[in-house]
């Protein structure tokens, strides 16, 4: 039983994502999954395991290693009346399909004067932390959020893994879903009847009064741990989960900061030009006079991700750094 008395089940993020896809396939015959090894292999991260057996090779399509073509085909299929879920194995390979995403998916509705919308969902794994080195550890979701015409969502909880996909599929425009590779094995209790959730609003995952920890995706867990840690020393940290990076829910960010007067953005992207910069700029623009001190950022070091464990850990945002920085910030009484 969850707090609100709804029946709950124990589930992993991976399984929640799979249920979301299965549910969508059952609800709408126009929905199909296409990508590298989504079928016979069961998905690179086993997310689509079993779906081929249930839905067959027409709707669970293994593709050749042709990222640009199958992402573009997803755009075409969406215009042709289907509701494709295109899986790009990881964000690192999405660079090979960027032309289709930026020059076609994001522009066609506009270039056609509103005639052709693209109801396409693209899922991809993102993030570092598993010693996969420089070509397999990008966190580019914040970078994608720069592109008008697409939406970018980052489920960080079981409920969002289970509920964001359907809403994304019902959206008339292209939605990119970034799943942090470190989350798939996360387990917990989820309402048994969990279903579709909005993909517009940020969520307060923990309320607090002294400082706002603003984050999303793979670093939400670290921020919550940090808040727990800070609580021990009577520092009340509010944790804001952005959930959607484009369009950003600026209002929720500003509301939180006007309550706490301090903001620390935590983001696994490289610091320069990261989504955390945009958030800092928006707070500057809308809550400057509410700030007790400058907005701070904890991001990844600006280095291609090294393989060695100790170097990778030192390159990524860590709970200890969040706690330490937050302490100093709260220490500075406005």
């Amino acid at each position: 039983m969850s707090s609100d008395g709804r029946k709950t089940v124990r589930i992993s993020y991976r399984e929640a994502m799979r249920q979301a896809m299965r549910d969508a396939m059952l609800r709408d015959p126009r929905v199909f999954l296409m990508g590298e090894d989504v079928g016979r292999y069961g998905g690179c991260f086993a997310v689509s395991k079993g779906l081929l057996e249930e839905f067959g090779p027409e709707r669970i399509r293994d593709t050749p290693l042709s990222e640009s073509a199958f992402v573009g085909a997803g755009i075409g299929a969406a215009m042709g009346g289907m509701r494709p879920i295109v899986e790009i194995m990881t964000v690192n390979f999405s660079l090979l399909a960027l032309d289709q995403i930026v020059n076609n998916a994001a522009t066609i509705l506009h270039m056609s004067g509103g005639q052709f919308n693209i109801p396409l969902v693209i899922r991809m794994t993102t993030g570092a932390g598993r010693q996969l080195a420089a070509q397999h550890s990008h966190s580019l979701e914040g970078w994608y959020a720069h592109i008008p015409g697409i939406k970018v969502i980052t489920p960080a909880t079981l409920e969002d893994a289970r509920g964001m996909l359907w809403t994304a599929l019902e959206d008339p425009d292209p939605v990119l879903i970034f799943e942090h590779g470190g989350l798939y094995n996360m387990e917990g209790e989820m309402a048994a009847d969990a279903g579709a959730v909005d993909i517009e609003k940020a969520a307060i995952r923990r309320s607090g009064t002294d400082i706002s920890l603003i984050t999303y995706g793979g670093t939400l867990g670290k921020a919550l741990q940090a808040a727990e840690e800070l609580a021990k020393s009577q520092i009340s940290a509010e944790v804001v989960d952005l959930r959607t990076l484009r369009p950003l829910d600026t209002q929720s960010i500003i509301d939180s900061v006007t309550r706490t007067h301090r903001a620390l953005v935590v983001d696994e992207g490289w610091r320069s030009g990261s989504i955390s910069a945009e958030i800092s700029a928006r707070i500057m623009e809308s809550a400057f006079y509410d700030l007790d001190l400058p907005v701070a950022r904890i991001c990844s070091a600006e280095v291609p991700m090294p393989y060695a464990k100790h170097l990778e850990e030192s390159a990524l945002p860590q709970t200890a750094a969040i706690v330490e920085t937050a302490r100093q910030m709260v220490g500075v009484r406005g």
């Binding site: 593709t63 640009s68 073509a69 075409g76 215009m79 009346g81 076609n104 270039m111 004067g113 425009d173």
Partner: protein, 333 residues
Amino acid sequence: MPPQATTPESAPAPEHSLMLLREMLRIRRFEEKCAELYSGGKIRGFMHLYIGEEAVAVGAMQVLQPDDAIVSTYREHGHALIRGVPAKTIMAEMYGKQEGCSRGRGGSMHLFDAATRLYGGNAIVGGGLPLAVGLALADKMQGRERVTACFFGEGAVAEGEFHESMNLAALWKLPVMFCCENNLYAMGTALRRSESETDLCLKASSYEIPAWPVDGMDVVACEEAARHAYLSVHSGGGPCFVEFRTYRFRAHSMFDPQLYREKQEVEEWKKRDPLVILQSRLEQQGLLNAEDLARFEDEIGAEIAEAVEFAEAGTWEPVEELTRFVYSESSRS
């Protein structure tokens, strides 16, 4: 060297031939007007003329059905016109007026039209091919017997997106009719300078896609080749590839000094002007007389004049609407 004239297997019915001639003339005159309007500053941005290649669009479009789909490039005035997009909405688009077929947001390179299933001129070389594959996939998955015609230049063959799209379409036996408009140049780059193997049909075959070349200056031959391909694709045989061997008489775009080719070469090809070829053939056969031609010119002249008038009278979309169409206005797909 321009290919030599081939006499098409079966001569089409006279009125059909006259219609083909008239359609090619429509493109020719329409674009001559566009060039004039561009110089006059009415049309801006990049504009690419199809003059010299009219037989390809006119021939290929004859075989397409109303519910088939078309994906084209930035050199798509001809495709749009012959597909049935009204000349006036095309002209209004090039003016940037909201009465244009893309509300003035696309311009010459981005003519879109839902009514005729024209999925746009695409300004990224090779960028349209994956879209065509996807449109065909949607038809196949929904059990609709439709064909998607995808037009692109020979320059696109060097792009990775060509390779990936050809393979995917063949692997999944999708109903795509790949129409390669081989006009021998990609801007200033001759085919022989961009491909180690210049036989494009041989490339298509390496994906197990049936492929054949056709004299792209002979509209009757173009229609015949397109029909072969269409029937094969429509009957579920998977994609086909047709190489239309043609030539661009004008500059690549409006800013091209044409340093890369000899005037002489252009003149040689102009002798094989698709309009001249068909016209003289019809005259020889006594199927065309001066009156027909004069009538065509008059009708087309009127159509174009009306298009220009329509564009001139068109209105500018209010700047307040700038951020429309970035996302859909209805919140459900």
